[in-house]
Symmetry: C3
Subunit: 244 residues, 3 copies
């Protein structure tokens, strides 16, 4: 049993958040909502996404996995106006996912998920935490993209800093702690990350607040809500080695 109704925006946020890492995903459906865990093909980043049953106008689901081609979903969602409602259900007998937008129906076979394994989320101790505006951070990211494809993130007791260096050019976004929504840091931490991955993650969080947990030469954890407070995205991004 899988029979739901939802506003297109919540579904777009979910599909967008996943599709920066994978083209195909194995969604875990259950009575309480939808969960997705996936690792990108290069094994650099990971997503753990939850969308609660409360995010839906109607939600009925038994426990099962459903393999989805995200490109097909995103393409079909483009047809939905802001006021329309998406209906989706799984026809077990025909082995088809059926999605309706207004009078248009799209039927598609779920993907074979026998080779798609659900990754384990590593538990890493990350001593520093900042909460800040996704828009402000994205402005800095755009400036950084002009000079490098790597970015160093630092949290110290005074605030947060992002630095990108390319040749003789340096781009720097410095946010002292009074410009941060939240800031927890006793000792300075610093790690280097792939800028394209980081940029994609932050752009999914926009325009809202984004929470980041950091350590020194540690994975980055990026978190934000979707669908009001009824959905949550957590990304992890592996650090890059300084001498690369």
């Amino acid at each position: 049993m899988f029979d739901i109704k939802i506003k297109p925006d919540a579904l777009r946020r979910m599909a967008g958040a996943v599709s920066i890492l994978v083209d195909e995903a194995n969604f875990h459906l259950g009575p309480a909502g939808i969960v997705l865990r996936a690792v990108d093909p290069a094994h650099v980043a990971m997503i753990d996404l939850n969308l609660n049953a409360k995010a839906f106008e109607k939600y009925e689901a038994d426990d099962r996995y459903l393999g989805i081609d995200l490109g097909k979903i995103s393409g079909f969602l483009r047809l939905a106006g802001p006021d329309s409602t998406i209906a989706a259900r799984y026809d077990k007998n025909a082995h088809r996912l059926i999605i309706n937008i207004g009078n248009i129906e799209r039927r598609m076979a779920p993907l074979d998920t026998s080779t798609m394994t659900e990754p384990r989320i590593p538990s890493v101790e990350l001593p520093a935490k900042v909460v800040l505006s996704g828009d402000e951070l994205d402005q800095g990211i755009k400036a950084a993209e002009a000079v490098s494809d790597r970015v160093a993130l630092t949290v110290d007791p005074q605030g947060f800093e992002m630095i990108a260096e390319g040749g003789t050019d340096v781009v720097n976004l410095r946010l002292p702690k009074d410009l941060l929504t939240d800031h927890q840091c006793s000792d300075t931490v610093r790690s280097l990350y792939s800028l394209p991955y980081f940029a994609n993650m932050i752009r999914q969080a926009k325009p809202g607040q984004v929470t980041m947990h950091l350590g020194t030469d540690c994975p980055l954890r990026v978190e934000f809500d979707i669908a009001g407070n009824d959905g949550h995205v957590m990304y992890m991004l592996a650090p890059r080695i300084e001498s690369e």
Copy 2:
């Protein structure tokens, strides 16, 4: 004698409707207005377009043919604001078509039309008819384009249906007769058509109502008005064979 003034929008609709089938067209000018009949190079589709003298702010024309490069006209029309007026005339002595937008004048030689013959419009008995919103139909077409380049159109006593199938994916737009502006059908009819041609035709009709006449394995007739009720476009589209 050919000396006219017209609002850019009416001219844009006319040029747009013709240019989905041909790049060059042999317009038949006459005292009552402009008529164009043309077949696309692949001989799959045909247009019969009328623009009455009443659609023009000024209209004076003797009976004659004028070969036009539609790309030149469309490009020049992009310079016209919504409130501007287009003036056009034919200078018989210089053998030039002269078009004015504001203080800008473009002179061009008419095309040699000696090899452009005006097609005969076939009279086909098409038993079913539907009238519906071009916008609604275009939404379904966009969904269909994601899965196939062919579309089956069905009219039955209960309503209208468009189906596109590609591999394990099916897109379906079903409009029961109470959602149709008009619906005439005693027996079910069904034909298969090229989706790119069909899509282009319906997009010319947007955002207004479009009338379609259908039969089984028959050409499709698509009709809509332009320039208020002072212009009319009729397309015919050959059916495709089911086993293709």
Copy 3:
């Protein structure tokens, strides 16, 4: 010493006006403002630009030259909203130009200007002058671009005319003197110019008024203000030979 604050729009106008001719430029800073003179690599056109100290919210500068990569500046300026303020300063010890937009800082090394010489502005007697709307002229230029890459500019005692000819097509913008803001001409003058250069110059002047000084087979002088009346751009464009 170079330490300034300025609204992004004034800086964008300056960078835009220069970048149609050169990618890198050697700005002459001084207590009264910024001056730039440059010739394009093909030696077809020249710019003489002034931006007075009054155009800045803060302006402190000693006399010196600063070599700038205009692409870097333009890219960084895209991050600035209309209400933001750009701060820039030169750090003599680090030999770096430092630009700030909000909390984002970009540091870059000035270009080596040892091979960049400041051109001398030729003094040419140009007998005719017209002042007209940059928007109106640009509409004519767009029409001209469809038929040719050269344009003939004529000023006669009755007004201004721009003509482009390509094959059997002619595009013509005729502005009688009552449609010109200013018009000074005793004898008819006419010169031919490269349309891409001319188009780029006029588009930098938009949407304001543009002043042109012309002669027969003479360079064209195009002038307009930027930053209110606190900045001024003068372009010179070499004529093309009729028989080319």
